[in-house]
Amino acid sequence: MMLASLIIIPALGAILAWRSERLHPDAPRWIALGALAAALAVTVAVWMHGQDGPWLAETNWSWIPQLGIAFRLGLDGLSLLLILLTLALGILAVAASWTEIAERTGLFHLTLLLTLAGVVGVFLALDLFLFFFFWELMLVPMYFIIAVWGHEERIGAAIKFFIFTQGSGLLMLIAILAIALVHLQATGRLTFDYFELMGMALGPDVSLFIMLGFFVAFAVKLPAFPFHPWLPDAHTQAPTAGSVILAGVLLKTGAYGLLRFVVPLFPDAAMRFAPIAMLLGAIGVLYGAVLAFAQNDVKRLVADSSISHMGFVLLGIFAWNALALKGVVVQMIAHGISTGALFIIVGLLQERIHTRDLRLMGGLSAQLPRLSMIGLFFAIATLGLPGLGNFVGEFLVLLGSFDANPPLTIVAAAGLVAAVIYALTLVQRAFHGELRRSSSAPDLCLREMAVMAVMMILILWLGVRPQPLLDTVSPALLNLQKLDASHAALTEHQP
C-alpha cells in the first residue's frame, strides 16, 4: 500500500491541481507542492522503516491473472534514490516555474504530476506489463508539456520526442511479449513477472534479439549515441519545468531500465553486447561534448551536455562491476541535480533577458551577479570538479570501466577535457566579457535563491560525503549482480 501510494498521491494531486485552478491561479502550484512533499515524506518513511534485505518494501496485487499480469511493485535502494530524485526535482521544478507558467496552470500541473506519477511507477514496477504501462504513462503528458507550454518550435520538438520514444517503446513491447511467449512455451505458464522471467534460460540468438529490443528503447531514452537527436530539440523547446524533469528524471528511466532489466534478464547477451554498448557510451561522451561546445542556444548547449554525461552512464552499466555501477548511480543523481539546476538557471535568464541566444548575451556578471555566480558554480559541477557530485560519479565509472575495457575508458576520459571546454565557453559567452544588453532585470529573488541553494548544497554533499548514498544503493546493486551471477551459473549448465 505504501508503494502504491507513491503513485496514487501524485496522480490524485494532479486531478486536484487541475480542478483547483478556478479557485485561484496559484492554487495548483500549492497543491502540486503538497502532493510531491507528501509523496516524498512517504518515501523517506519507507527508507527509514523498510524491511531488511535488498527490497525495502514490496506490493503484489492481482490484476489480470488470466494473462499473468500482476500489479507488482518493489522498492530497493536503486528505486528509492531515483524516486527521491524524482520527487525532489519535481518540487524544485514547480518552485522554479512559479512565474514562468502563467497560463493554464491547472492543466500544466496536471500533466507535470501525471508524468511524475508515471516515472515513479517505472521505478517501482516489477511486472513487465505494468512497467510498460507506466513507461507509456509518463510519455503522453510530457508530450503535452512540450507542445503546449514550450518555446517557439515546440510542436516539431514534441512530435520528434513522441516518435522516438513511441517507436522505441514499440520495440520494447515486442520484446516483452516475446520473452513472455518464450516463457509460455517453455513452462506452459503465461507471466510477466520480473522474477519468474529472470530465471529462464534462452538460446543465444533469441536472447540477443530480445535484449536488443529492450536496449534500443532504453538507449533512446538515455539517450545513447546515435539515438540522441530527439533530446536537444525536446529539452530546448520544453518549458523550464519540462526540461528539468526530462533531463533530471526521464533520462534516468533509460539507465534504470538497462540496470534493472537488460543485464539481469539477459546476462549472457548483455555481456556479449557490452563492447558495443561501451563503445557507444565512449563516443557519446565525446560527441555530446563537442556538440554542446558549438551551440549558440544556451539551452541546447546544456541539453547536449546531457548526451555526454549519459555516455558515462552507459559505459559504466556495461562494465557491470561494483565500482562502475555505484559510479553510475552517483552520476545519475549528480547529473539530475546539476543539469536540472543549469536548466533552471537558463529559464531564469530567459525570463529576465528574453533570449537564449549566446550571441546576444555576455557580461551578465556585472548585472546579475548572483545568477552568474550560481551559473558558474553549476558549470564547474558539470565539468566534474572534485568536491562536487559529478566528479565522484565520473571517477568511479572510469575506475570500474578500466577493468572491463581500458582503451574505451581512456577515450571516455578525454571527455574530461571536452567538458571543460564547453562548460567554460558557456560561462564566458553568457556571464563574462562586455555587457551586451543592458536591462533593468532584477537579480534572483528569495524563492529563486532558495531553490538554487538547495541544489548547491545537494551537489556539494554528494561530492564530499557520497557514502550514505552509496550505502543505500549498495544492497540493491549487489542483488542485481547476484541475480545476474546465479543466472549465469544456471545457463552454464545448459548444453
Binding site: 563537442v290 561494483a322 575506475l399 567554460l424 566579457g433
Partner: protein, 629 residues
C-alpha cells in the same frame, strides 16, 4: 598540537565560504580582515605545528590525521586524510607564509576594485586547495586539491572578466592543465587497478614489490603522472598557458608562480619519487624536459617587452631547473629550489606590481627607465629578487639552491655533464635576462611619471621577502662553504639523499666557481648591452637576430603550432557538426517518408479504371511469385 593540522587548510576554506556566501555585501575592511586573517591564522598554526613537529618528532617522522572516509567500495576506500611529514611540512610553511604575505600585499594593491570580495574569496580558496594538495595522504584527495588549484587559477586569471582576452587566458590555463590532469586521472586509475590502493604510503610500498625497475606498467604509471605534472608546472609541451596567465592581477601571478600551482608538479614527482625510480626512462625524460624547458624559457624571457611576461618565462625556466633536479635524482635540491624560488619569485612579482602600480599600469619595460630614484623600495626589492634569481654568489638564497641542483646534475649517473651544461647555460641567460629588466626599468633615462604611493601593507611583504630571498639559502650550503645540511637532514626521512660520489671537494668548488662566474658574466653582459649600449650590441638590430627575437618573443612558436594542429581542427569540426550529422540521418528518414507520401498519394486518383488495372497487375505479380518462386 599536531592535531591542529586540519585547521591549516580549513581556515582559508572558511574564509572562502564566508566571502562567497556574503557575495560582496561585506565592507572592504571586513573582507580584508577575513581574507588576509584566515591565511594569516593558517600560517600561525603552521608555525605552531612546525615547532611541535621539530621539537618532539612523532613516531616514524610523520603525523596522520583522518577526517572522514570519502568513499568506501570494496577495496577502494580513499579517505579524507592529511599527512604531515618533512616534505609536506616545508610545502605547508612556504604556502601559508608566502601566501599570507601576498594576501597582505593584495589587501592594499586591490583596494577599490569592484571585485574586492570575489578576489579574496578566490585567493583563499587557492591557498586552501594548495594546502589540501600537499597535505593529502591519498592520491584522490591530492587530485581534489590539484583540480581546485586549477579552478582557482581560472577564476583569478580571468578575474577582470570584462576583457575577453582575460577570459581566453583563463580558459587556456584551465584547459591546457586539464589535458595533463586527464593523463593523471588515467594514471590514478592504472595505479589503483594494479596496486589496489591510492593511499600514497601504501602505493610507494607496494610499487617496488609489484614491479621490477623498468617494467612497462611502472613506466606507464610514471609517464601518466608526469603528464599531470607537466601541465600544472608548465613544462614542455604544456607550458603555453603560463605566459598568458599574466592577464590576472599581479598578486595572483605571485601566488601562482611562487606559492601554489606551478610547483604542484614538482611536489607530485617528489612525493611519488619511488615510482619514478622504478621507471628510469621516465626519470630521464623528466631531466631532459627540465633541461629543454629551462633553456627554451630563458631565451624567451630574454626577448619579452612585457615586465610580467619576463617573470612568467622566468618561472617556467626555474621550474625547469627543479625538473632537472628531480630527473637527476637530486630530490632535496628540487624542493630546496622550490623554497628559495618561492621567496624570490614572489618578491619579483610583488616588486614589479608595485612599480607598475606607480606608473599607471604600464607593462612595457622600454617605456619605463630610471625609476630607481623615484621608487627606491620597489627598486631595492626587485634588485634583491633579481640577484637571487640570477644566483649571484654567496649572498643570495638562489645561489645555494641552484648550486645544489647543478652539483646534483653533475654527479648524477645519467648524462650528468650534459644536464649540468644545460643548467650552466641557463644560469648565464637567466642573469642576462633579469638584469636586462633591472637596467632597462630602473636605470637610464626617466621616460614615465612615477608617483610612489604604497603603504605598509605593500612595504612589509617586500621587506620580509627580501630578507628571505637573501638569507633563505643558508639552511643548506655546500661543503666548501660551511657545509650546513639542515635542510637535507630534515627531508632525509622522506626523500633519499643522492648517493655520495667520490668527487674531491676541489671538483665541487670548481664546479661552483664556474657557475658563479657564469652568473656574474651574465650581469656584466646585460650591463654592457642594455645600459652601456656598447657598439657590439648593434648586432641585435640585424634582421637575422630580429627574426630570432620575434621567434623567441612568441615562445618558440608553440602557440602557433597548437593553434593549427589542435585548436582550429577542433573548431572546424565543431562548427561543421553544429547541427548534428546524426540528426540529418533521421531527417533523411522523415524526408523520404514525406516524398514517398507525396508520390503514393498521387495514385489515389479516384479513377476506377486505374484501380482495376492495379488490382490485375498485383494479382498477376502474386501469381507469378507463387508459380516461379
Amino acid at each position: 598540537m599536531l592535531a591542529l593540522l586540519w585547521l591549516t587548510p580549513a581556515l582559508p576554506l572558511l574564509g572562502f565560504v564566508i566571502l562567497f556566501a556574503t557575495a560582496g555585501r561585506l565592507p572592504a575592511s571586513a573582507v580584508a580582515a577575513v581574507g588576509v586573517g584566515s591565511v594569516g591564522l593558517s600560517a600561525v598554526i603552521a608555525l605552531i605545528i612546525t615547532a611541535s613537529f621539530l621539537t618532539t618528532p612523532p613516531e616514524g617522522d610523520f603525523y596522520r590525521q583522518v577526517l572522514w572516509r570519502w568513499i568506501a567500495i570494496g577495496s577502494f576506500n580513499p579517505e579524507v586524510a592529511f599527512r604531515l611529514d618533512p616534505l609536506s611540512l616545508v610545502m605547508m610553511l612556504v604556502i601559508t607564509f608566502v601566501g599570507f604575505l601576498i594576501h597582505l600585499y593584495s589587501s592594499e594593491f586591490m583596494a577599490g576594485d569592484e571585485g574586492y570580495s570575489r578576489f579574496f574569496a578566490s585567493m583563499n580558496l587557492f591557498v586552501a586547495a594548495m594546502l589540501i594538495l600537499v597535505l593529502a595522504d591519498d592520491l584522490l584527495l591530492l587530485y581534489a586539491g590539484w583540480e581546485g588549484v586549477g579552478l582557482c587559477s581560472y577564476l583569478l586569471i580571468g578575474f577582470w572578466y570584462r576583457d575577453p582576452a582575460n577570459g581566453a587566458a583563463a580558459r587556456k590555463a584551465f584547459i591546457v592543465t586539464r589535458i595533463g590532469d586527464t593523463a593523471m586521472v588515467v594514471g590514478l586509475i592504472l595505479l589503483f587497478t594494479r596496486l589496489g590502493t591510492l593511499a600514497i604510503p601504501e602505493l610507494m610500498e607496494r610499487a617496488p614489490q609489484a614491479w621490477p625497475a623498468g617494467s612497462a606498467t611502472a613506466t606507464a604509471a610514471a609517464a601518466l603522472l608526469l603528464g599531470g605534472a607537466l601541465g600544472k608546472s608548465a613544462q614542455i609541451p604544456l607550458q603555453t598557458w603560463l605566459p598568458d596567465a599574466m592577464a590576472g592581477p599581479t598578486p595572483v601571478s605571485a601566488l601562482i608562480h611562487a606559492a601554489t600551482m606551478v610547483t604542484a608538479g614538482v611536489y607530485l614527482i617528489a612525493r611519488t619519487h619511488v615510482l619514478f625510480e622504478l621507471a628510469p626512462a621516465i626519470q630521464l625524460a623528466v631531466a631532459a624536459i627540465g633541461a629543454a624547458t629551462l633553456l627554451l624559457a630563458a631565451f624567451s624571457a630574454l626577448n619579452q617587452h612585457d615586465f610580467k611576461r619576463i617573470l612568467a618565462y622566468s618561472t617556467i625556466s626555474q621550474i625547469g631547473y627543479m625538473f632537472l633536479a628531480l630527473g637527476a635524482g637530486a630530490w632535496t635540491a628540487a624542493i630546496f629550489h622550490f623554497m628559495t624560488h618561492a621567496f624570490f619569485k614572489a618578491l619579483l612579482f610583488l616588486a614589479a606590481g608595485a612599480v607598475m602600480m606607480c606608473i599607471g599600469d604600464e607593462h612595457d619595460i622600454f617605456r619605463m627607465g630610471g625609476l630607481w630614484r623615484r621608487l627606491p623600495l620597489a627598486f631595492a626589492s626587485f634588485l634583491i629578487g633579481a640577484a637571487s634569481l640570477a644566483a649571484l654568489p654567496l649572498v643570495t638564497a638562489g645561489f645555494y639552491s641552484k648550486d645544489m641542483i647543478l652539483w646534483g646534475a653533475w654527479t648524477s649517473g645519467r648524462g650528468g655533464p650534459a644536464l649540468w651544461a644545460a643548467g650552466l647555460i641557463g644560469a648565464l641567460v637567466t642573469a642576462i635576462y633579469i638584469f636586462r629588466a633591472v637596467f632597462v626599468v630602473f636605470f637610464g633615462e626617466m621616460q614615465i611619471a612615477a608617483r610612489s604611493r604604497y603603504g605598509w601593507r605593500i612595504a612589509v611583504p617586500l621587506g620580509v621577502l627580501s630578507v628571505l630571498a637573501l638569507g633563505g639559502g643558508f639552511v643548506e650550503t655546500p661543503a666548501a662553504l660551511g657545509h650546513v645540511e639542515a635542510f637535507s637532514r630534515l627531508l632525509e626521512a622522506v626523500l633519499p639523499t643522492q648517493r655520495e660520489v667520490a668527487a674531491a671537494p676541489a671538483t665541487q668548488a670548481t664546479v661552483m666557481a664556474i657557475a658563479s662566474f657564469a652568473a656574474l658574466a651574465g650581469v656584466f653582459i646585460a650591463y654592457l648591452v642594455y645600459l652601456r649600449r656598447v657598439r657590439a650590441a648593434t648586432i641585435l638590430d640585424t634582421s637575422a637576430v630580429q627574426r630570432l627575437h620575434r621567434f623567441w618573443l612568441a615562445g618558440w612558436g608553440f602557440d602557433w603550432l597548437y593553434d593549427r594542429v589542435l585548436v582550429r581542427p577542433f573548431l572546424w569540426f565543431a562548427q561543421l557538426n553544429r547541427d548534428d550529422a546524426v540528426d540529418a540521418v533521421y531527417d533523411g528518414v522523415a524526408f523520404s517518408s514525406r516524398v514517398s507520401h507525396a508520390y503514393l498519394s498521387r495514385t489515389q486518383t479516384g479513377r476506377v479504371r486505374w484501380y482495376a488495372g492495379w488490382l490485375v497487375a498485383g494479382s498477376l505479380a502474386a501469381i507469378a511469385i507463387a508459380v516461379f518462386a
